[in-house]
């Protein structure tokens, strides 16, 4: 049986009477790449801030590898490395020193942290900047430093709060590759994001959160096939009147020689549709698919887009 890395039960929190989280239940398995997806202000950051000890909960329980985050905070916090959404600023020390301090907070002496810090600086392309202050780094470098900071004590669980918010495409892909590597090494990753693409590409399991409640959860693929709708558009060279009878099991619309199918899973249906049409002797000019996404899942559950 796979153990749970994080188990959140009936978690609630309100700020000045307005409810930020209500009865949230989330289970993240050890080694899972988990996404907490939702629009801005849905309660993603509140959830992880309670998990990491930055915000006090009103009620509910959170356990990390079976231990309570308040009673056993020394254990649970040492298992987690967090990259906050907001970048921190420090005027006083070079980043190598800052990483040394960060390791120290987790009880790792400078001597023992040295190798790990060198490895991280190299791996994240910051070695040549190790003597620089944070303000001397570019935005992308600051993000990478932040990741190094989260990883310096070699945590089992890595939490990233909107890691790719406001960064360019190239860096985003770099970061994704690195997160995949970490996941392959067996790390549990909890990512909050409002980028649909990010959650679909990276996460094995997502919880979609909206107005402080988990509205659905599951593997992105399953959620999409359950709730999403994909489209296949087939352009024929000429229309054949025998086609409607053959395609009656599909829901589609016809516009002259163009057929638009609405299916749950475009990948499996496209070959079937093509074979039915071509067997009948019709010639296909071209085929287009519009893939369904978690955006459609969110849309069908809430009636609005995730980034609206």
């Amino acid at each position: 049986m796979t153990t749970s890395a994080v188990k959140i039960q009936k978690l609630s929190k309100s700020y000045n009477g307005s409810e930020a989280l209500s009865d949230i239940n989330i289970t993240i398995l050890d080694g899972q790449f988990f996404g907490l997806l939702g629009p801005n202000g849905a309660g993603k950051s509140t959830t992880i801030n309670i998990l990491t000890g930055l915000v006090r909960k009103d009620s509910g329980n959170i356990a990390v590898f079976g231990k309570d985050i308040e009673k056993d905070y020394r254990f649970t916090r040492s298992q987690i490395g967090t990259a906050q959404q907001e970048l921190s600023i420090d005027w006083f020390f070079p980043i190598e020193k800052l990483l040394q301090y960060q390791a120290g907070y987790y009880g790792i002496s400078p001597k023992n942290a040295k190798e790990r810090i060198e490895e991280l600086l190299n791996r994240l392309g910051l070695w040549s900047k190790r003597k620089s202050r944070l303000r001397q780094l570019s935005g992308g470098m600051k993000r990478r430093y932040q990741l190094a900071k989260a990883l310096v004590h070699d945590p089992k669980i890595i939490i990233l709060d909107e890691p790719t918010a406001g960064i360019d495409v190239e860096l985003r892909h770099e970061l994704w590759d690195y997160l995949r590597q970490l996941h392959q090494q067996g790390k549990t990753i909890l990512l909050t994001t409002h980028y649909i693409e990010e959650a679909e590409l990276l996460c094995e399991y997502v919880s979609i959160i909206h107005r402080g409640k988990v509205i659905t959860e599951g593997a992105p693929k399953n959620l999409i096939s359950q709730m999403g709708k994909a489209g296949i558009t087939v352009h024929l060279t000429k229309w054949d009147d025998t086609l409607p009878a053959l395609l009656q099991s599909y829901s589609y619309t016809q516009n002259k020689s163009q057929l638009h199918f609405t299916v749950k899973d475009a990948e499996t249906e496209i070959s079937k549709i093509i074979s039915i049409i071509s067997k009948n002797g019709c010639q296909i000019q071209r085929v287009e698919t519009t893939k369904s996404s978690l955006e459609d899942v969110f849309l069908s559950l809430t009636g609005r887009g995730i980034n609206e």
Partner: protein, 253 residues
């Protein structure tokens, strides 16, 4: 205890102010030297002696205290507020550090700064005007207790404050007037009776007279009361600062 964590945060706090010694150590020395030169030498000719001690010597223990307490309190207060405003606090709050460890690290940092500043002014007095120090161990011990007290108070204020403006208000409207009214530049015996009575409610009055006793052997307040007063304040502020940290009010949402 997470000893390495405590040591790390403490050395960061100490390293922080040493790395900007032009802002944190030199100003106190320069202003004390100016006080000695301007107030001491010009007023000495008119005031001559207070309680049998030349005026320049009389004000020096007060200057030591003023430097100790302003440096100790501003170190913790500004460090805490800065960490809050610059998003550095999450790094510490998400680490496996207890509220006591975090508080101790800050307070030790502020105490070191207060102690270094107070001791440097003491040395300045010895070098510049031949200040006689009657019981150096007690003087240093007293500087330490006062530094601890105000470092704890600074941590309390730093947690409570939401902006630099609020912090400056607390320092300018309370700390500075109370230190000046605590008898740095005068003996309270020179004041009208009602003002003397008011001084008894000013904690800094006891601190100044306590250190003055360890250096010059003279004091407006009984030395034993000054000592207990300093110790009581040290404990009260220390435990309040730790309790506030533990509650998470003002630093955790």
């Amino acid at each position: 205890m997470n000893w390495i964590g405590l040591w790390t945060l403490t050395s960061r706090e100490v390293g922080r102010f040493f790395s900007v010694y032009r802002q944190t150590i030199l100003p106190g020395l320069i202003s004390s030297a100016l006080y000695i030169l301007i107030f001491g030498f010009t007023l000495q000719q008119r005031i001559a002696e207070i309680n049998g001690v030349p005026y320049t010597l009389f004000i020096l223990p007060g200057l030591i205290m003023m430097n100790t307490l302003t440096n100790a309190s501003s170190n913790t207060a500004s460090s805490m507020l800065q960490m809050k405003l610059l998003q550095q606090l999450p790094d510490i709050l998400t680490a496996p550090l207890s509220s006591l460890e975090i508080s101790l690290a800050y307070i030790i940092g502020g105490t070191v700064r207060g102690f270094v500043n107070g001791t440097l002014v003491l040395l300045l007095g010895v070098l510049l005007i031949g200040l006689p120090v009657s019981s150096p161990i007690f003087s240093l011990g007293y500087i330490f207790i006062v530094a601890w007290t105000f470092s704890s108070m600074g941590l309390l204020l730093g947690q409570l404050a939401d902006s630099w403006d609020q912090l400056a208000m607390m320092q300018n409207f309370f700390l500075t007037p109370l230190s000046f009214l605590g008898g740095i530049f005068y003996s309270i015996k020179m004041l009208p009776e009602w003002a003397q009575v008011l001084s008894f409610f000013n904690p800094i009055y006891y601190m100044i007279n306590g250190i003055r006793f360890t250096i010059l052997g003279i004091s407006d307040s009984p030395p034993i009361i000054s000592f207990w007063m300093a110790l009581a304040m040290a404990l009260i502020f220390f435990f309040s600062a730790v309790a506030l940290m533990k509650s998470g009010r003002k630093i955790k949402l």
